[in-house]
Point group: C2
Chain length 510, copies 2
């Protein structure tokens, strides 16, 4: 084999960028030739963290070293996400150097070792996280160190402030600005679009930003995305809110609390949620979005995220203290968390439920409607629109008159147009093996089944629940219907449920 002639490196040590066409999701990867002069002179090895500089921008990326053939020695390949993050164009030349030492990691280690962190420590960590300087394993270590009750109130306040400070903060120039959040754990509990429609129809301002799913089969942003555009920037969001009084957008496309999105990306595969991260995540987004009045819905139930009175009270106290320290008016509402809400679990399936409630359809799930009305009623009173005790009747009036539905359509039109959510091509009922009554529904297992069926990334995937607690069921009657976009996922969800049934039947012995 003849030796390849190595091109002379450019005097500035730069490398020609190539979009190598590999999708590594959000992780930035740079591919360099093993004989590349930069690799050699800098002493880079595979998996090293390097900094790529182009036109005043810089990103931190993981290095993959490639064998001859894939790249020339004076080229640097970029993963699709790295190419986007650098805003690179064909013919661009970049320089690559060692990533700067991650000084704030010593604070993460201090936290792992059980020490308390102060505000400057959280500021340093969160700024590095928001700037993409933390590799995923370091983020995983930080999240684990802060979980399991290891953050006190002062630390949670400091983390929340650091997360607000790391991004943009919207000032609406008026008050009240309403917001709501549900702590989750109840599949299908998609009240937010209905509440925003009612509250905005009442003339209040409710600029709602939502997240995508963290550990659940759908987040409000995933659901709304099956109905309209949700990836609005701050300018577009402002335009919608100024016109309609409300919006339902994805927080991740904004630059509000950007560290939160990075943390969530690692929390998701770890299936990890802690009180402190939860409170900091929720409140930093609310504060950055300019909210003055926030209502927090916390469902409590044996398989919900919050399972006991004790857990509820601890979380309530923490969230109130952190809100108070940040000048945010906040009320916590405890709701029943014994079973999923509505029928659908998964982005499009939940969107169908939301539309049914807003349209006043005969088949609309009553529990979803009642929950949304209760939350809207509280917000109407909390924000001073309705007098105490009058919120409930006002919320009913706005929903049943069609005012909320009209407002919802107007908001979706302003965000880019309302569309009907899709229906999955593959559907398969899961039948009761015996007769009985529904004694328990395991929210977590049901959520897992919906996720294995493809939700939330396959928007039409998930499941449609046909029974509720206490229902009588015949043998062979469908308990729920699996929806999937790919046969592999359908089979995978099915197999998991066969081994881990989510619905317990009792009584009616044969």
């Amino acid at each position: 084999m003849s030796q390849p002639v190595l091109p002379t490196p450019r005097g500035d040590g730069s490398l020609l960028l190539r979009r190598i066409g590999i999708d590594t999701l959000q992780e930035s990867v740079v591919y360099m030739h093993a004989d590349c002069h930069v690799c050699r002179s800098e002493g880079f090895e595979a998996q090293a963290r390097v900094e790529v500089h182009l036109n005043g921008r810089a990103i931190i990326a993981t290095l993959n070293v490639v064998d001859p053939g894939l790249l020339a020695v004076d080229e640097a390949g970029l993963s699709n996400s790295a190419w986007r993050a650098l805003n690179a164009a064909a013919g661009d030349r970049a320089t690559v150097s060692h990533a700067p030492a991650l000084d704030s990691m010593s604070q993460v280690r201090a936290k792992i070792y059980g020490n308390r962190l102060d505000a400057p420590a959280f500021d340093a960590i969160v700024a590095d996280v928001a700037a993409g300087r933390y590799p995923d394993i370091h983020i995983a270590a930080f999240l684990s160190a802060c979980a399991g009750g290891r953050m006190n109130v002062q630390e949670t306040i400091a983390l929340t402030r650091a997360m607000v400070a790391a991004g943009e903060r919207i000032d609406w120039g008026r008050a009240p600005i309403a917001d709501k959040h549900c702590v989750g754990g109840l599949p299908g509990n998609r009240t937010t679009p209905i509440v925003v429609a009612i509250v905005a129809a009442a003339g209040l301002t409710m600029p709602k930003t939502s997240s995508r799913a963290i550990t659940s089969p759908a987040g409000t942003a995933d659901v709304m995305e099956t109905l309209t555009r949700v990836d609005l920037d701050v300018t577009a969001m402002r335009r919608v809110v100024e016109r309609e009084g409300g919006c339902l957008v994805w927080g991740g496309a904004l630059t509000l609390s950007p560290a939160d999105d990075v943390l969530i990306r690692v929390e998701r595969p770890l299936d990890l949620d802690s009180d402190a991260q939860l409170v900091a995540s929720v409140l930093s987004k609310k504060i950055a979005a300019g909210a003055t009045h926030a209502l927090i819905d916390i469902p409590v139930g044996p398989t919900a995220k919050v399972r006991s009175d004790e857990d509820f009270l601890r979380l309530q106290r923490l969230i109130e203290q952190v809100a108070d320290a940040n000048g945010l008016n906040l009320r916590v509402l405890r709701t029943h968390g014994g079973q999923p809400v509505g029928r659908g679990i998964g982005p499009a399936l939940e969107a169908h439920d939301v539309l049914a409630v807003l349209r006043g359809a005969a088949h609309a799930p009553v529990d979803l409607r009642m929950r949304a009305l209760a939350l809207a009623a509280h917000l109407l009173e909390f924000c001073g629109h309705s007098r105490p005790g009058q919120g409930q009747s006002e919320a009913w009036r706005l929903l049943d008159s069609g005012a909320a539905w009209a407002k919802f359509q107007a908001i979706c039109e302003a965000q880019g147009g309302l569309r009907e959510p899709a229906l999955a091509p593959l559907r398969e009922p899961v039948l009761a093996a015996s007769a009985g009554y529904v004694a328990a529904i395991d929210n977590r297992r049901l959520a897992r089944v919906a996720k294995l069926a493809g939700a939330p990334s396959a928007a039409a995937a998930g499941l449609e629940l046909h029974v509720r607690l206490g229902d009588d069921v015949e043998a062979g009657q469908p308990l729920f219907t699996l929806h999937a976009q790919a046969p592999g996922e359908l089979a995978y969800a099915r197999r998991y449920h066969d081994a881990h049934p989510a619905i317990a039947l009792e009584g009616h012995p044969a």
Copy 2:
């Protein structure tokens, strides 16, 4: 642009494997075409964890989705490590499926939430880790959850046993089998090769397996690799030990406590070491290697790994309890940890120090010699070779007579031949800015400087220390000399030390 004609998928759903030529270190990556029928039917997305099956072998890999051009739709590309792990050959066809659900992760979450884990939980986690089923972020979460004093004695015993059970265990068919370990934190403290040489020269059996660096600039395996082959398998190791009574091999090439190597790979970039992981790591290797008598050297000092009496006593107690529960005879030796040992810090530089002591060279570092003699003396008595009080003179005799040096050469010859360690091409002295005496040496910063200079992956890199605590220094006198193999690394180490000086001078004010 014309539509490409997609090849018809094979009936068995298999994909043609291609060694794509990307080095991702130990992380297995599989590259698949976005339009690949398997991707589509299984609903795979970028960064999904998938299982690749070939000829009865299976590996878990991370999926990177590639744009058209790099691969055909019926091909699956493998990273170099995945190709090796699957033992793939050109023309092989593999099937790819969803990775099985990682059930043991619920135990890791329980640990993060502050619960105690029982033996079956550790067995399940460690078996999955050893089999490569844990993504790195999950390993990072597990390590963080177990750090900071969150493991009690029973859990540490269970973790240690699980780590032993996950791999091979050598039975030498005789006793005593000597072993030693230094808990580390002292750069340059490379006593092991000298101790093995003395103990084996005394006719005892000491089959020493060592690790590569975890958070330090060099592990004993890194140092020994600059002198001879260290990647022996169990059969080759047995041959060396039966012939010479001792060996100095890398534990990672054996299948002794294989989970340890996986954990260490993530511990290293996190720069994380916890008592429980440390004890489980050290003792699982010793037990699996068949040791009956182990001596543990724990240096204590303000910037060593163990910094206080309290920390020392806690670690001593834990290591003794876990050894006892496993039937291992163990003694702990507390040593001074105020400054580095010897002159060199970095694999080859430390090897030079070891050779100087063994050869009885005039310039051999006295502190390294004295420490090695003390440890050897303890082992000789502990294993019953010398009577109490006689170990010291026996150790001196074996070293000064040349018997230990002869044994060391014989061991290296048996392992594949003794060679002289390399010398780095780039060297730069770091000078004292002012006159004074050496009041403090920060082991951690000095280790960091050596690592930034390229150690341990660049074997000749590191630093050579010219001063010791209490030394008088003139302005402009060299404190240490940086050694590097690449200019970028030399500059990087230099920059870090300029910002974070490791050696404090006091007195002699101008």
